[in-house]
């Protein structure tokens, strides 16, 4: 699947930034995230418990950072294994931009799913991923006490070739925003089962 989205967050970029760097906030926004462990400078392992009706499964995600353009853009690569539920892998490019008093967040995700996710969920994934990404940002917006609104129309995917040259990764907590965004999308994919 390919999906792009745009959210306008009714808070200054500084406030957004601070909130996104607060693990407590993120934990509340990413439902089912059981652990988030940094295993290398550019690699993280996450365990997400996802439940749909009576079915619950533990999905293990390996996330790798790339093309870091701190603090405005980032790419996350992910491999997610859900056992019998199937697997997903893909990448998300996320960009933040000042928009007057507000902050504009754009993402473009490309993911391939396999196993049961592909066999029985493919028709549902786009809509479900969209809804769950919306849910994540709605929760996030509430954390900020502000409003999050999805952009009116989907925006075209950014050209991958246009990405800035990779820069040296600077250890900081800033990765969390990108991770949060991608995990939300991964959760969305997984829940699309």
């Amino acid at each position: 699947m390919e999906q792009t989205g745009e959210y306008r967050i009714a808070a200054s970029r500084e406030r957004v930034w601070t909130a996104l760097n607060d693990p407590v906030v993120l934990g509340r926004c990413i439902e089912g995230c059981q652990s988030l462990e940094r295993v290398a400078d550019d690699r993280f392992d996450a365990a997400i418990k996802a439940r749909v009706g009576p079915v619950s499964a533990l999905f293990n995600a390996e996330l790798t950072l790339a093309d870091v353009d701190a603090p405005s853009a980032y790419t996350l690569h992910a491999q997610v294994k859900g056992g019998a539920a199937g697997f997903a892998r893909g990448q998300a490019r996320v960009e933040l931009e000042d928009a007057g008093p507000e902050t504009l967040l754009r993402y473009a995700v490309q993911a391939n799913v396999g196993g049961k996710l592909a066999q029985v969920g493919s028709r549902l994934i786009d809509a479900a991923a969209r809804k769950l990404a919306d849910d994540f940002f709605a929760a996030f917006g509430r954390e900020l006490g502000g409003v999050v609104s999805a952009a009116a129309a989907p925006v075209p995917s950014p050209a991958p070739g246009a990405a800035a040259p990779p820069r040296v990764y600077e250890p900081s907590a800033q990765w969390k925003i990108w991770l949060a965004v991608f995990i939300a999308l991964v959760v969305a994919l997984v829940l699309a089962l």
């Binding site: 697997f87 592909a118 029985v120």
Partner: protein, 791 residues
């Protein structure tokens, strides 16, 4: 004449013999929940199997860690492909060795029942968890850890020859390059033809979807050494033969295969699959009966799929509208492995049918059979013949449009005439009999062809586009004779067995090597025997589907049951009557040659002394007044090997209305006039035609199996794979014409597949007629039709 009207009149004629629409004997148990299917079999101490299936289309298995799984509650064993290989089990064979055009044998890649080094399609099993409960087995399957190294999959058959080799030693993923017919003569005739019609066709890949998913229960008796396998098979004896002779699970005489009630097969249950192989192997290994029933998702992934051809065809026509040559080149997707009959479907069951009903003098067909990282492809209702009919009837219809000749007239002009039989086609077959004009004319009458322009105009006034499409199909049923088929590569004979045991009280038990999984054998075969012996239908029991009860058989496929299996029963009945005459002659104190048997009585013409069938049967078992030297008992069997195929043929005409605003196609009328030779039970035949039409129309309008570029099955459930429902189908107008088969005792040809063979081309010809463009591939979904209209 509508179907219901005809059934009523035939039922009204009374009787239960040949030609009567007797209600099906088996239906009472089916509709009252008393059917006994494989999943209904529960054996004491039974454990449950859950298969480990590849999530990848192509990957190397680096390591399988079963430790955690084995430690889980209820787990009895976790067995892998390596364990199976270590036990010395052989590969699953392909039963038909196709010779390539250069004389070499086809290249059959090894097909281990459980993969142990590499997985080659999503859903391929590489292990099995056996546990005390299904829940335990499922939980433990989750705990098996596998390291796969993914490899680039080959998904698109059109590019398979230029992709990485899936199997070591299979260059260019080519299982075979096969040809039939005279290439030079065909090309020469095309070069000088007044007109050449060219067409590109895709025969969409289908998933069979029998109502009952596959299942197996295996048991091993350490006392006797007997293995018993209950499984959803269309041919239990073949299953036993393959499992014993090729896979080596158990010796043939220590393996009993029982296929009890089976809820539909459509070909998909002919083949010997990994799962039942593993179940019977595991039952012995763990010392408990083992049961597996497929989930619907597993059926989608791992039942053999059908069709999947890409074809280019050229038809040369002379200035008088006569076909001079047909040249066909097809790439057939065989899937990741050659399934049991996968090699024969796109070759001997396809290329040989390309003459259709026509006198085309030059035909050449070339088929590239390729491997891909998709589920194996094998016979599915029609098996090769729907694909052939689709090529012939789509290109003939297209030629008619290009030449401005009425499509019925173009067909009429080229049809083999009734006085030309037996007719030798340029593609190996010799048609024994037929009257293609009769079914065409009857179909034209039933559809009211003359009234079509008015109906089209009326539809246009309603804003709809109405189209009409023809399909004059031929098929070859009852694959035969054995000697010829074996010389062409078949690994088994193609005869059938029939045995009639007359019990001392005069009731009769009939044993057939064919198998009923919806066809109604218990009724049709009982009608034949009751008719021959002049006894009641309820006095006849038909036994099938158990290697422990039926001597041998080759099962049910290719619409063979009646023409081959029924003929064997008929021959056995002859033998019973012949022996009965000897007994009766002795009892009536006359010479054997003077006895005649009619209406259930043995007697001499002109004499009022006669004996009933029951009296003679009783005498055979209580031989007091009995001929010297004659064995007691009245039980006879026959192995019937047909002299030739049978050739059912007919005309299907579809009328559709297309809504140009939405692209929705409605089938508003469908006429099927089929020549099945002599019909035993018209009601059952009509049911078979209806079912076949539903599947053919499903292929044309709704069904399509899709793998994505990574080899993931995207149509893995009923949500994405669209099966026809009642409201997708019209009220069919079904009729028959009869030219009896010339070479079997029943004159029957076979009816099980005709509906699925003829209808896709009729529907697509009608849809393309309605929308005015030929650029449309099956299934003609609303989106595709709408886009074609917009082009």
């Amino acid at each position: 004449m509508t179907q219901t009207a005809q059934i009523r009149s035939e039922t009204g004629a009374g009787g239960h013999g040949i030609g009567a629409s007797v209600l099906r004997k088996e239906d009472l148990r089916f509709i009252t929940g008393a059917g006994r299917y494989t999943d209904d079999i529960d054996l004491p101490g039974q454990a449950y199997a859950v298969f480990l299936r590849s999530p990848f289309a192509r990957a190397r298995i680096e390591r399988i860690d079963t430790d955690d799984a084995r430690a889980m509650p209820g787990v009895i064993a976790v067995l892998t492909g390596r364990d199976m290989a270590d036990d010395g089990l052989g590969d699953l064979p392909c039963g038909w060795l196709v010779k390539q055009k250069d004389g070499r044998d086809m290249v059959a890649a090894p097909h281990p029942p459980l993969a142990h080094t590499q997985v080659n399609y999503v859903g391929e099993p590489y292990g099995v968890v056996i546990a005390a409960t299904l829940y335990d087995a499922r939980q433990a399957a989750e705990a098996v850890e596998v390291d796969f190294t993914e490899l680039d999959p080959v998904v698109d058959p059109a590019h398979a020859r230029h992709s990485e080799d899936i199997h070591a030693g299979v260059l260019g993923n080519l299982a075979y390059d096969w040809e039939l017919g005279d290439r030079a003569a065909t090309e020469a005739a095309l070069a000088t033809a007044a007109h050449v019609t060219r067409i590109e066709l895709v025969n969409n890949r289908l998933i069979p979807n029998a109502m009952e998913p596959r299942a197996a229960v295996g048991a091993y008796d350490p006392g006797t050494g007997e293995h018993t396998l209950y499984t959803t098979s269309q041919n239990p004896h073949l299953e036993r033969l393959v499992l014993s002779a090729f896979v080596g699970v158990a010796p043939e005489h220590r393996l009993r295969v029982i296929a009890p009630d089976v809820g539909g097969g459509f070909g998909s249950k002919i083949f010997v699959y990994p799962e039942e192989t593993a179940v019977i192997w595991a039952a012995r290994k763990v010392g408990r009966p083992v049961k597996w029933t497929a989930e619907r998702s597993e059926s989608f992934l791992a039942d053999a799929h059908g069709r999947d051809h890409v074809t280019h065809a050229e038809l040369g026509v002379d200035a008088d509208g006569r076909f001079v040559a047909l040249k066909v080149e097809t790439t057939a997707n065989l899937g990741a492995y050659l399934s049991l009959f996968g090699s024969s479907v796109p070759t001997y069951l396809y290329g040989t049918l390309l003459a259709g009903q026509y006198r085309t003098p030059n035909i050449h067909v070339e088929v590239h059979g390729v491997y891909t990282n998709t589920a194996p492809v094998d016979a599915y209702r029609g098996a090769g013949r729907p694909e052939a009919t689709y090529v012939v009837e789509r290109i003939v219809e297209t030629a008619a449009r290009e030449l401005g000749i009425d499509p019925a007239e173009l067909r009429r002009r080229n049809m083999i005439r009734p006085d030309e039989f037996p007719y030798q086609t340029p593609v190996a077959l010799q048609y024994d009999t037929g009257n293609y004009q009769a079914s065409l004319e009857r179909a034209l009458e039933l559809i009211d062809y003359a009234g079509f322009p008015a109906r089209r105009a009326a539809a246009a006034a309603r804003g709809l586009r109405r189209g009409i499409g023809f399909s004059c199909y031929i098929e070859a049923c009852g694959l035969a004779p054995s000697k010829l088929a074996i010389s062409l590569g078949a690994g088994v004979g193609l005869y059938e067995s029939g045995e009639i045991r007359v019990n001392p009280t005069g009731s009769v038990t009939v044993f057939t090597g064919t198998h009923s999984h919806g066809q109604g054998h218990e009724t049709t075969f009982a009608q034949i025997v009751a008719d021959r012996f002049g006894i009641g239908l309820d006095d006849v029991e038909v036994v099938h589907g158990d290697t422990g009860r039926v001597e041998f058989g080759l099962g049910t496929y290719g619409s063979r049951s009646l023409s081959v299996g029924g003929s064997a029963i008929s021959v056995a009945a002859d033998k019973v009557i012949a022996k009965g005459k000897l007994i009766a002659a002795h009892m009536l104190e006359t010479v054997p040659g003077t006895i005649e048997f009619a209406d259930g009585r043995f007697g001499q013409p002109g004499s009022n002394q006669s004996l009933s069938f029951g009296e003679v049967a009783f005498a055979a078992y209580v031989p007091a007044n009995y001929p010297d030297g004659l064995e007691p008992g009245l039980s006879e069997k026959a192995f019937y090997d047909p002299a030739n195929f049978t050739f059912p043929a007919g005309t299907h005409i579809a009328e559709v209305e297309v809504d140009p605003e939405t692209g929705v196609v409605e089938v508003v009328a469908f006429v099927a006039v089929d020549d099945f030779g002599r019909v035993i039970n018209p009601m059952i035949v009509h049911g078979q035609v209806q079912g076949g039409l539903a599947q053919g129309i499903g292929q044309a309008l709704l069904e399509r199996c899709v793998y994505d570029e990574f080899g993931q099955l995207r149509t893995g459930s009923m949500m994405d794979y669209c099966l026809p429902r009642a409201d997708d189908l019209p009220d069919f107008t079904i009729d028959t014409t009869v030219t009896p088969c010339t070479h079997n005792p029943l004159g029957a040809k076979g009816c099980g597949e005709a509906g699925a063979i003829g209808s896709p081309a009729a529907i697509m010809n009608a849809v393309t007629d309605a929308i005015g463009t030929n650029d449309l591939a099956m299934p003609a979904t609303p989106e595709k039709v709408w886009r074609a209209l917009a082009r």
